[in-house]
């Protein structure tokens, strides 16, 4: 669980000592029961036990807690690896050090694993800002000096597409129970050309956050919470000149970030566009998989850009929105009481009550990415007047990958995969999703709310908040990011062109979209069209 989310939930339910003890006692009672009485599969007692470490609301877990959890979750490893089997093996693990989590947790989780197997792990810790450049340079210059890497799925095109990773052995698939993944993390995500490479340890998607006090009878809008982008634009325009019920300042509707964010800003146009452009009849919505011709200038995308331009034209955004990047819209605007609707990752919800500058903690509600009342069918080249929902799985979350450097040394390969499987284990991941770890729930079993309740969480709150994530993850028409080489280059150049379009330097939304398409064509040609087509198809599982 992301740190902010954890703090948010604890703060939101205002957990008292009594509540916490109640939860712990319940778990303790469950743990003390005979195994057969507790749960049939034995995992249940482990799951209940680890959720007691250190106890919800009992402060942030420390290294000794991570080691305890790692030790208690070794069962699956022991089934596949004999004690001391990897003696003499040395592995190098490259990952992040964000918020003193990620690699720091992995160290703790893997320490008992090292003690049991006899392997030794060396660590490369990277700051988020250095991560992309380091990985990209290692890939491009062929200087891969790590055996295991923590990596986001958007880089799969760069790494898996070049055959730089080791294929997951079948015993690992069984150990980590991949069937338990939420739907969108199942193949083709984590796979390439039908082969599986990724041990998922996280999930990501954008969800809809809105201000409850703006909607309902007698509210400033007098409307229900918008369900479609058309309604969102209508509400945003109607709110011009009205007053925010909470702050008394001018009321605003949806907050589009109009400034780039190192490529990440493009996800936010995607939120609008996915409802128009992601037709259920095809997984492709950014490029034509046969030609890599950009779809970004088809009528669906142009409509999304036009929606933003309409709100700029109408003066519906807060002043200076042209300089608002996604960080600004979330943390300086929405949480501070400016604007009533937003799409973002889980952090916004988690910060709503814990952030000192947030004033919307009591009035924030969540949902999945709004729909559109019409969808563009790119195959037929025509609009269809049917309601279409397509949650945007922005970034897809972190995974652990084993590099091809271990091939040729069977012992080392087994050791690397065993370490990766330990980190992506079903029980261990439950703990990571329930406590501050930097990772979101990503398995069906993570959404068994009774486990959370037993651990001491307020069920109603967890259900409400995480429910929007679960609904997005499992949506049949989820818009999945293309995992092709250089995907952030496409996003980055699109941000530059959008900035020009939003500043009125292009004549229309179509012209802006055409400029993006032209820039994308250049990137495709530079990286290599044929290889991009092949890799794009592979990433879509076509």
């Amino acid at each position: 669980m992301k740190v902010d989310l954890y703090n948010y939930i604890v703060a939101a339910q205002k957990m008292s000592r009594r509540q916490m003890l109640k939860g712990s006692a319940a778990l303790g009672a469950v743990a003390m029961m005979p195994k057969a009485a507790a749960r049939a599969d034995g995992h249940a007692s482990v799951r209940a036990e680890i959720l007691k470490i250190p106890g919800v609301g009992a402060g942030s877990p420390t290294d000794s807690d991570w080691q305890k959890v790692g030790e208690m979750c070794l069962g699956a490893t022991k089934e596949n690896v004999a004690e001391g089997e990897f003696a003499g093996v040395e592995l190098t693990f490259m990952g992040l050090n964000n918020q003193n989590l990620h690699n720091f947790l992995f160290r703790g989780f893997l320490k008992p694993w090292e003690a049991y197997t006899g392997a030794k792990i060396n660590w490369i810790d990277l700051a988020q800002a250095d991560y992309n450049a380091r990985l990209q340079q290692s890939i491009a210059t062929g200087t891969v000096d790590f055996d295991i890497v923590e990596m986001g799925a958007p880089f799969e095109g760069d790494v898996l597409g070049r055959g730089m990773a080791s294929e997951m052995p079948d015993w690992v698939k069984d150990q980590i129970d991949m069937d338990d993944y939420v739907d969108y993390l199942k193949a083709p995500v984590g796979t390439w050309d039908g082969k599986t490479y990724r041990v998922s340890i996280d999930g990501d998607c954008h969800t809809f956050a809105y201000r409850k006090d703006y909607f309902g009878e007698g509210s400033v809008t007098g409307r229900d919470v918008p369900k479609t982008w058309q309604e969102i634009n209508a509400v945003s325009k109607e709110l011009i000149g009205k007053e925010d019920p909470l702050t008394g300042l001018p009321a605003h509707g949806y907050l589009d970030p109009l400034k780039g964010w190192g490529g990440f800003g493009f996800y936010f146009l995607e939120n609008r566009a996915s409802a128009y452009a992601k037709h259920p009849n095809s997984p492709a919505w950014l490029f034509d998989p046969e030609t890599m011709k950009p779809m970004v200038n088809n009528p669906a995308w142009v409509q999304a850009i036009q929606d933003v331009m309409d709100l700029i034209e109408a003066g519906a955004y807060p002043a200076d929105q042209i300089n608002a990047d996604p960080g600004t819209t979330a943390f300086q605007q929405f949480l501070a009481g400016t604007g009533s609707m937003l799409m973002w990752w889980g952090d916004v919800g988690s910060s709503a009550r814990t952030s000192d500058t947030s004033v919307v903690g009591d009035v924030v509600g969540f949902g999945i990415n709004p729909a559109s009342d019409r969808v563009y069918n790119a195959k037929d080249g025509a609009w269809e007047d049917t309601m279409n929902e397509a949650p945007n799985m922005a970034y897809i979350g972190w995974g652990v990958y084993v590099m091809a450097t271990v091939e040729g040394d069977a012992k080392k390969k087994k050791a690397a995969w065993s370490a990766a499987a330990h980190l992506g284990g079903k029980d261990l991941s439950l703990w990571a999703s329930a406590y501050p770890s930097g990772f979101q729930p990503y398995r069906q079993s993570h959404f068994q709310f009774e486990e959370w309740e037993e651990a001491g969480y307020d069920r109603a709150f967890v259900e409400d908040y995480l429910g929007s994530n679960a609904d997005s993850y499992n949506h049949p028409n989820a818009a999945i990011e293309p995992r092709i080489p250089g995907i952030f280059q496409y996003y980055s150049v699109a941000e530059d062109e959008l900035a020009k379009g939003y500043a009125g330097q292009y004549g229309s939304a179509q012209e802006t979209a055409d400029a993006i398409a032209a820039a994308w064509e250049k990137i495709t040609d530079q990286i290599g069209r044929d290889s991009q087509i092949a890799l794009y198809k592979a990433s879509l599982g076509l």
Binding site: A319, P485, V493, D496, K500
Partner: protein, 368 residues
């Protein structure tokens, strides 16, 4: 032992045998041969013309280091005492060549390649394609145009800095205190300035500067909302950071002025303005020109404030060449094209600074 030539600076006169000289020459040419052989072998291996080679270029680097060491050692072997004197300079020269000249040449090569880090093909020489792309790249020309505005702003900064320097040179109360206070912005990192001032104090809703502007009657104080305003604010923040730098140089110049000349002008009945115009300003020209040239060089590197606050927006209005190259290189991994843009910018800077120094050279010498 030689008894002719410069004996004054010779500690010992060497009598070096021909076989020793031959050994020295063998050290140099032998190690050079190993270096070139390995480099050629690795080049052929990397270009797919040969199967023999190493996984990396590291052995070639070691061969280069071996050659450099042999070259230094051979100086002593061949030239004896005289060679030792060469050793005071040669390692430094080799170091500069290794770390400046070679990377520059490599960058020149890279700038004429199609090299996107995401491409499976690696760097592919593409002739003048990058140059042609630059020629039609509206973002680059827009950034160059902005640089002209930014550089012109130095003239205003100079006037303010000169005024402040005169003020701090005068007999005012708490002069030392003000000198320190005026220097404070220079001690701040531009990144800190962009966050503290640009993103916090000027934040439209909570920023104290925005509140002040609202109190003064500006309804919607958007400091970066329009192209002109955004460009002006970037200039202002950069000026606020670096005016103290010009000021301190000018202040040092003012304090070094000969008192008797200024006093003589007063004795001759010159007013304060006349004294400034006819005596102080001309005497300050060399310092002024130096301060302006250094400031322009600083200005040509302007990027951090822009990257943090506007990312070049709105619509490219504040983009500097460096901030654009940063996006092209870092966000888009477009190594070949990004390097070409940087090389062209380097050439433009060299030409511009050379012409500038030529134009102002007659002011650089203090009048007799």
């Amino acid at each position: 032992m030689s008894t002719e030539g410069d004996l004054l600076h010779t500690v010992t006169a060497d009598n070096i045998s021909e076989s020793r000289r031959r050994l020295g020459r063998m050290m140099v040419w032998g190690s050079a041969a190993v270096f070139f052989l390995l480099a050629a072998m690795q080049f052929l291996h990397d270009t797919g013309h040969s199967d023999i080679g190493f996984a990396t270029w590291r052995p070639v680097l070691f061969a280069y280091l071996l050659w450099a060491t042999a070259l230094c050692g051979a100086q002593v072997v061949v030239n004896g005492e005289k060679g030792k004197r060469t050793l005071f300079v040669l390692p430094a020269a080799l170091f500069v060549i290794s770390l400046v000249v070679f990377p520059l040449l490599f960058a020149l090569y890279v700038s004429f390649t199609n090299w996107n880090l995401a491409s499976l093909n690696g760097p592919q020489p593409n002739g003048w394609d990058n140059m042609r792309q630059m020629w039609s790249d509206a973002f680059y020309w827009n950034a160059l145009k902005n640089m002209v505005y930014y550089v012109l702003a130095v003239s205003v900064e100079y006037v303010i800095a000169f005024g402040l320097a005169l003020l701090l040179n005068a007999q005012i109360r708490a002069r030392k205190f003000f000198r320190v206070v005026f220097l404070l912005p220079l001690m701040l990192s531009p990144v800190a300035v962009s966050w503290m001032v640009g993103k916090s104090m000027m934040e439209i809703r909570f920023g104290p500067l925005a509140r002040l502007a609202r109190d003064l009657g500006w309804d919607s104080p958007s400091f970066f909302g329009t192209p002109e305003m955004a460009r002006f604010m970037i200039m202002a923040m950069d000026a606020w950071t670096f005016i103290p730098f010009m000021m301190i140089m000018l202040l040092a110049g003012l304090q070094a002025l000969p008192r008797e000349v200024i006093e003589a002008s007063k004795v001759d009945g010159a007013s304060g303005w006349q004294s400034f115009k006819e005596v102080i300003f001309p005497l300050m020209l060399p310092v002024s020109v130096t301060a302006i040239v250094i400031r322009i060089i600083f200005k040509l590197k302007l990027a951090d404030i822009i990257i943090n606050i506007t990312s070049g927006g709105p619509g490219g209005a504040t983009d500097s060449v460096t901030s654009f190259i940063f996006r092209e290189y870092r966000d888009r991994s477009n190594v070949g094209y990004g390097t070409l843009l940087a090389m062209v910018y380097l050439v433009l800077i060299v030409i511009f600074i050379t012409l500038l120094l030529k134009a102002v050279s007659r002011f650089m010498e203090r009048p007799a």
